[in-house]
């Protein structure tokens, strides 16, 4: 099978609408007797975005903002409380219920921890072969040919050198390439990469980023790239979405958003990037305090308690997404310096 045979399969638009995930905090017996309501933690609280084939969307936010949960919802590791995901004309959530295997064939993920995400008991060839086997493929020369191709596409050449090894015999970078090979062996149209380089040495990071970029381009994959690190998003992403407390507050082309953020939260994040921001004419807006508990989301704009520009309107009414077709922001008082 040729490695390029998937191009047609992977050209569908991903539409995520109002995706939500709530956790109910288990109330103790005594609390229940006292009639206390169990706390509801809204980890992901209405996330919407589109993702075109061959496009990379960076999902950025502090830890605990719900970006990883969004990724896990997308690949089906968690049950959404509400919302929909469409891949082309298909309802992915319905597909997941009717044909689990088919759903998982379309959506794959690369995990943060290259050490824990490879089964230490298995050889590399078995690790790459397992997804095919779980999809019902028979063991045989065809299957191992696909394993070899996946490994080589992930930059582990010659593949024969890696097939019989165990994960503990590989370096962190090599392991992450194995994870990527495992993710692409099923020819997915959507790939979620959850902080794929945060646990790797600096010298290896760019290799992994280049690899992901190449795969996206060659295989026309839609990549959701989750990170807390704004410094690397520019190198890989086409667009960027900033998440705060379970919601996307700003989404737009990566160069423009980083150059002239319109949401005060984005501006604060950008000002914290250690490299010089091009066109840094604004003084860094000050935000104070810590990210609030997702169980007690403030009324109105959820960023208002920490926002330097907050008004009474912000504290009472939640802002909606506004803006041009490519650049949206959820803020009552967005910065207007560099409107596209």
């Amino acid at each position: 099978m040729s490695p390029c045979a998937h191009d047609t399969a992977a050209s569908a638009m991903i539409e995520v609408r109002d995706l939500a995930r709530h956790y109910t905090m288990q109330a103790g017996l005594m609390d229940r007797l006292r009639g206390r309501q169990p706390l509801r933690l809204r980890a992901v609280d209405g996330v919407s975005f589109d993702l075109a084939p061959g496009e990379v969307l960076g999902l950025v936010g502090e830890s605990g903002c719900g970006k990883s949960t969004t990724g896990r919802l997308l690949v089906g590791l968690e049950e959404p409380a509400a919302g929909s995901v469409r891949i082309g004309s298909e309802d992915a959530m319905a597909l997941r219920r009717t044909d689990r295997r088919a759903f998982h064939r379309r959506v794959q993920m690369v995990f943060q921890d290259p050490y824990g995400s490879l089964n230490p008991y298995l050889t590399i060839s078995e690790i790459i072969a397992r997804p095919l086997i779980y999809q019902g493929h028979k063991r045989g020369p065809d299957l191992y040919a696909r394993v070899t191709v996946a490994l080589e596409q992930a930059g582990l050449t010659p593949a024969a050198q890696f097939l019989t090894r165990h994960p503990h015999q590989l370096s962190g970078g090599q392991r992450q390439r194995v994870c990527i090979a495992r993710a692409i062996v099923l020819d997915p149209s959507v790939l979620v990469a959850d902080e794929p380089i945060s646990m790797l040495d600096v010298s290896i990071k760019w290799g992994i980023i280049r690899l992901l970029k190449r795969l996206v381009a060659e295989r026309n994959i839609s990549l959701l790239y989750i990170t807390h690190d704004l410094a690397t998003v520019g190198a890989i992403c086409d667009r960027i979405a900033i998440m705060y407390l379970g919601r996307i507050v700003e989404i737009g082309p990566v160069d423009q958003v980083l150059a002239a953020p319109r949401h005060p939260y984005t501006a604060a994040l950008v000002s914290a990037i250690p490299v010089a921001v091009p066109g840094g004419k604004r003084p860094p807006p000050e935000i104070s305090g810590a990210i609030p508990d997702a169980a007690q989301i403030p009324p109105g704009c959820r960023f208002a308690p920490r926002c330097p520009r907050a008004s009474d309107l912000c504290r009472s009414t939640e802002p909606t997404m506004t803006g041009s077709s490519r650049w949206h922001v959820a803020c009552h008082h967005p910065a207007t310096g560099a409107t596209a």
């Binding site: 590791l77 759903f103 998982h104 993920m109 995990f111 995400s117 298995l122 397992r130 779980y134 999809q135």
Partner: protein, 286 residues
Amino acid sequence: MQIIFTFLKAVWKTPTGRFSLIVLGIFVALAIFGPLIAPHDPMVRNYGPDRKLLRLAGPSWDHWLGTTLMGRDIASQMLHGARPALIVGGLTALGTVAIGLNIGLIAGYFGGRIDSILMRITDVFLGLPFLPFIIVVLSLSGRSLTTIVIAMTLVMWRSTARVIRAQVLSLREMPFVAAARITGASDLAILYREVAPNVLPLALVNTAFALAWAIITEASIGFLGFGDPQSITWGSILYDAYASQTMYRAPWWVVPPGIAIMVLVSAVYFAGRAYEEVLNPRLKGI
């Protein structure tokens, strides 16, 4: 099968491990060939040249370990005793791990209600007093090697289940489990093809300790007089010696069975511990 080979290879690497494997090999050989090389029929009463019953005769060329009060050859009884010890111990260890491994895997992996039900059941079994329970079961259901194995397995799987469950609880949070799930693997496939291989080493260590404990318990059952009346075991030899009330006149009757148990069980312990050291190099030592 492959895991057993890996186990033997790992144990063989350490000097103590090698020594214990050799000892174990000798005992396995005795279990297989012991009855064949036994010089006498273990149940036959032996008479001396003067046609008198050889009661409590000391060790001699003809009777290496002397004779019992009834004139039976102790060395031959000892050689017959290796087989039931290893068979009962081995089957109990296997049964223990088979049940404990599966209960631990299922409870730890599925969690929630399944876990709490299985753990409550484990607690009930944990409350069963070990030896008294076995004895009551044997006295009610008849004594044979089969009932001994069943009774021992019933009270031994519980600790293996707990140990395995604890390990599975941490394994199931590993990203490789999530990675398998998003490739469409079913729960059973994840449990038995991804998680289970990773607890096998721990299960193996547990098998070794279960084997050691089963051999000692089988001997204790025999000593208390609840062993299989059809077979000669090291425990039953000691029971005869104790019941005869003449053991203080015949140390050669009392010492060998205990030594055999002690050496065999020590070898099993050391092999298990050598493997544990390979798994966790921090537990260095002898």
